[in-house]
Each structure stands twice: as structure tokens, then as C-alpha cells.
């Protein structure tokens, strides 16, 4: 693409003014707020709002087991969510791209419709299923598996189910678009040459879907690390995650700076773990990144 238009077209004076609004908007309403909040985590402010200087107190405040545990449980939630999504998404993407190719439009449609519907309604739907008098308990009772129905809401189980439910399409779609571009004959050749299913998967399919895998990983892992709404709604107040702590502190009275510091701390931790996991994927899966 290097030889696109740049050498040929006469660059008039007009253009940069045209490119500018989007860039300015992005800097003003995305990067500037992030930088400001990062700075405010370091600044010491008096009660009247005067700036006293720099401090690390806000960060030191969070260096104790309780908050480290919060960060760790967020990591665990994001990680297990990503793994579960991957485990469910891969067979589905495979089906969409190969086995059920003829009906792929219908199945893609069915996948995207819930994805494009207000997410709170799905939360509500799961309330309906998981509640004490909900559908699942009713079913289990009728099957005679459960005598005393208990509410399955406000449990880690409910949080995880909702997370997988919500984030699944983010994993399926990139995987599908990688698999779809793959040459079926490569798989056939692998089978013909005597490879087992597992070998074919590991040596042919995984390397060729590496790009989709990485995209899906980022699209699921990062937002679920900061996820605030699902734990809040499905977990009651029992479980604390990064998103809930951040929102509590930022919305709380006079704890804004603490919230800012925690946001920075969690963000740094998240980027480091995402980087490590990315590196692991890179190392585990052989081959270069293909389409």
C-alpha cells in the first residue's frame, strides 16, 4: 500500500483541516481525560482544592492484600471468561465456516441479533432463568434433581455465565472471519496424509487462525477485565472487582484521587498481563500470523 496515492496526487492546502476534527476529538475526549485522571492520582490536593504537590500516597493505599485480591479476582474473571469463550467459540466458528457453511447467514444472523440488543435485557433474562422461582430451578425441580430451590443469582456462577453470554460474539466473529478465509483443502490434505484430528487442529488450523485468535483474545480479555456492569448486577455486593472499586471510589465523595490511582494501577496491571498472555499465545502457536 506504500505506493498508494501519496506520490501522485497533488497535496493541496485543504486536507489537514479535513483530517483534523477526528484527530482533535480523539485527543480531546479520549487521551486528555485519560492523562488527566492518571495525573490526578499523583496529585495531593487540600480540602479547598489547592494543589500541594506530588504524592504516591494514593498508590500506597492500594498496596494491601484486599485490593491486590480485587485486581487478582478481576484477572481471574477475565481469564476464565476468555478461555470459556474460546472453548465455545471455536467449534461454533468452525461450524459457521465449514460444516454449516450453507446456512452460515442464518446462523450468523441468530448470533448477532442478541449481540445487538440492549445488554441489560439479557441481564434481566438471566434473572428470569436463575432466580429462586426461575426457569432453571423449575426445570431441575420437575426433573427431581433439586428439592429445595436456591437462588443462583448473586453468585460467581451467575457472573461468569453472563460474562460468557455477553462476550461470546466478540470471540466468534474474528475466529469465523479467519476460518472463512482458510483453504479447506489444507485440512483435507492434512487428513489425507494421515494426521489425526488433534494434529490437524494444532498444526494447521491454529496457526492459520492465529490472527483471529489474537483479535478475539483482546476483544474479550480487556473489556472483561474492567467489566463493571455484570458483576454489579449479577453478583450483588459480595464480589469486588476492579470495575466496581473504580466506580465506587470515583463516584464517592472525596475519594476521586484514590479512584484515579486505582484506575491507573489496575490499567497497568491489565496491560502487563495482556502483554504476557499475548506473548504466550505468540509462542504457543507455531507459525507466522496469517489472514
Amino acid at each position: 500500500m506504500k505506493f498508494s496515492l501519496s506520490s501522485r496526487s497533488p497535496t493541496s492546502q485543504l486536507p489537514f483541516t479535513f483530517g483534523a476534527p477526528a484527530l482533535i476529538w480523539q485527543v480531546l475526549f479520549f487521551y486528555l481525560p485519560l492523562v488527566l485522571i492518571a495525573i490526578s492520582g499523583f496529585v495531593k490536593v487540600t480540602e479547598t482544592g489547592d494543589i500541594l504537590g506530588m504524592t504516591f500516597d494514593h498508590f500506597l493505599f492500594f498496596l494491601r492484600p484486599l485490593y491486590l485480591k480485587v485486581i487478582f479476582s478481576s484477572f481471574l474473571l477475565a481469564f476464565s471468561n476468555t478461555l470459556l469463550c474460546l472453548a465455545i467459540a471455536y467449534p461454533l466458528a468452525y461450524f459457521l465456516a465449514f460444516t454449516g457453511k450453507r446456512y452460515s447467514n442464518l446462523f450468523l444472523f441468530l448470533l448477532i441479533v442478541p449481540f445487538w440488543t440492549n445488554f441489560l435485557l439479557h441481564v434481566y433474562a438471566w434473572f428470569f432463568v436463575l432466580d429462586k422461582d426461575g426457569f432453571l430451578n423449575l426445570l431441575l425441580q420437575n426433573l427431581g434433581l433439586v428439592q429445595n430451590p436456591t437462588s443462583m443469582l448473586n453468585t460467581p456462577f451467575a457472573i461468569l455465565i453472563m460474562m460468557v453470554y455477553y462476550y461470546l460474539p466478540y470471540m466468534v466473529l474474528p475466529l469465523y472471519s479467519s476460518l472463512e478465509k482458510m483453504d479447506v483443502r489444507l485440512i483435507e490434505a492434512s487428513f489425507d496424509l494421515g494426521a489425526t484430528w488433534l494434529q490437524t487442529f494444532r498444526r494447521i488450523m491454529l496457526p492459520l487462525t492465529k490472527r483471529g485468535l489474537k483479535a478475539g483474545f483482546f476483544l474479550v480479555f480487556i473489556p472483561s477485565f474492567g467489566e463493571f456492569a455484570i458483576p454489579e448486577l449479577m453478583g450483588g455486593d459480595k464480589q469486588m472487582f476492579v470495575g466496581t472499586v473504580v466506580s465506587d471510589y470515583i463516584l464517592g465523595e472525596e475519594t476521586g484521587a484514590l479512584g484515579a490511582a486505582f484506575t491507573v494501577l489496575a490499567l497497568i496491571f491489565m496491560l502487563i498481563t495482556a502483554g504476557i498472555l499475548y506473548w504466550v499465545i505468540e509462542r504457543l502457536i507455531p507459525g507466522k500470523t496469517h489472514g
Partner: protein, 261 residues
């Protein structure tokens, strides 16, 4: 598949159908009970439309619906326009490759973090929370979607067409409007639909940046959730599901499906 590996195929089918069961079970339960004449804990009684009638008469619902509509429309138009201008700049030979990376930041920062940062920022520059702040915030989301999508499509365009147009004497501006823009149309429509839906359904940014005066649809649903299960929400789900079906149908009817997935 080459080897009719029957077992593998059956296993795959079982997995796929249980995934779709998982996706649709809650929705179906929800829809069925939107027609139940009794409130939630009670089992099926008889068929009724009354929750739908109540839904359409609810005033706060319509207010929040219009608010969401305004915010989604404005942020879609704003981000599409700015996105097109940026592509225009690229088409003129501007080097935006390195600038473009700025827009991928939206993927790396969780929405919660963006939302609290924006909340603090709006407080600092004294912009009162309301529909304006929501539009500002949602446009950021929109830019992060539309620019990568459109730019990817722009790079795929056959540059010989633009060159031909320029060589044959069209001005760069004519070339942009007659050659580049029509080719980007599917990407623009798909991107626009996506932004609209993301904004319309957004919860996190709305939760932090809407203020108390202006309620969006998501916040209205949240308040209903907090006050307990009511069949009106079931009816609302049915209506919104029909709406999103329509949107996805429009997306699928685009001739060359833009790469939004």
C-alpha cells in the same frame, strides 16, 4: 470434510446446538412470559397483550427512548462525518498511517476506565452532564469503530481507479466524491449501523456521563431492574428484539458485506 469423520461432525453439531440453546433459552423464556397475564413468580396463566399496552403508555419509557435516539443519531452522524473527512485527507495523500493508531486506543482501554475519566474531565471543564456529554462520549466510541473499518476498506480499494480518475483530469475533490466515496459506501453503512447500535445500547458510558436529569433507555431499564421483575420489561425486550432483527437484516442485505467482523 475430507474424512467423513462422523463422530467429530456429531460432536460439533451437539456443541453448536447447545451454544444456540444457551443463547436463546433466556430470550425465549422472556418472550413467552411477556404474554402471561400474571406477574413473574406465577406460572403460565393465560395469554394477554396487557403488558404491551401498558408499555406503550408509559411516559418515562418514551422519554428515555427519545433521548437514546437523539444521542445515537447525533453521535453516529458526528463520527461518520469526521471519519469521512479523515479518509478524505488520506485520499488526498495525507499520511494518516501513524495517526490512525490513535484510534486503536479505544480497544486497549476498558470502557469503564474511559467513562470515569470522562466523568472527571467533564467536571473539570464544567460541562454539565446531560445529553451533550453523552453525545461527546459516544462519538469517541463511534470514531474508534468507524475509522478502522473505513480505513481498512479504503486500503482495499483499487488505487488504479483513483489514479485513472486523476489522470483523466478529475480534480482530487471530484475523485473523492465520484470514486472513493461510492466505493466506501458499504463500509460507511455498516459502520454507521454499528455505531448507532453501540450508542443506543450503551450502558457504561451512559451510567457515568448522563447525569441525573437525562435518562437513556439503558438507564430506564436499569431502574426497572432495580425495582424488581415486571412483565413490562419482558414486553420491552420483545419490541427491542424486533428492532435489532431489523437492523441486522439491513446489515446483511448490504451487497458486499463490509468487514465489521
Amino acid at each position: 470434510m475430507a474424512k467423513p469423520n462422523r463422530l467429530g461432525k456429531i460432536a460439533n453439531l451437539v456443541l453448536v446446538s447447545s451454544t444456540y440453546l444457551f443463547l436463546y433459552l433466556p430470550i425465549v423464556v422472556l418472550l413467552v412470559f411477556s404474554f402471561n397475564s400474571e406477574g413473574f413468580p406465577s406460572p403460565w396463566k393465560e395469554f394477554t397483550w396487557k403488558w404491551y399496552i401498558e408499555l406503550f403508555q408509559s411516559e418515562p419509557l418514551w422519554d428515555s427512548f427519545y433521548n437514546s435516539l437523539i444521542v445515537a443519531t447525533c453521535s453516529t452522524l458526528l463520527s461518520l462525518t469526521m471519519g469521512v473527512f479523515l479518509i478524505f485527507y488520506a485520499a488526498q495523500g495525507g499520511r494518516i498511517g501513524s495517526f490512525l493508531n490513535l484510534f486503536y486506543g479505544n480497544i486497549i482501554v476498558p470502557e469503564t476506565v474511559l467513562a470515569v475519566s470522562l466523568l472527571a474531565f467533564f467536571g473539570l471543564v464544567a460541562i454539565p452532564l446531560g445529553l451533550t456529554t453523552l453525545i461527546l462520549a459516544h462519538t469517541v466510541l463511534g470514531l474508534g469503530l468507524v475509522i478502522p473499518i473505513c480505513y481498512a476498506r479504503f486500503l482495499e480499494l483499487d488505487h488504479r481507479m483513483t489514479e485513472a480518475s486523476l489522470v483523466l483530469g478529475a480534480t482530487p475533490i471530484q475523485t473523492f466524491f465520484k470514486v472513493t466515496l461510492p466505493n466506501l459506501r458499504p463500509a460507511l453503512i455498516a459502520g454507521g449501523l454499528l455505531i448507532f447500535i453501540v450508542s443506543f445500547d450503551d450502558f457504561i458510558l451512559s451510567y457515568f456521563c448522563a447525569g441525573s436529569a437525562s435518562q437513556t433507555l439503558s438507564l430506564y431499564i436499569l431502574s426497572m431492574l432495580r425495582s424488581g421483575i415486571s412483565p413490562i420489561v419482558n414486553a420491552l425486550s420483545a419490541v427491542l428484539l424486533v428492532l435489532s432483527c431489523l437492523f441486522v437484516l439491513i446489515l446483511f442485505s448490504l451487497k458486499s458485506r463490509a468487514r465489521i467482523f
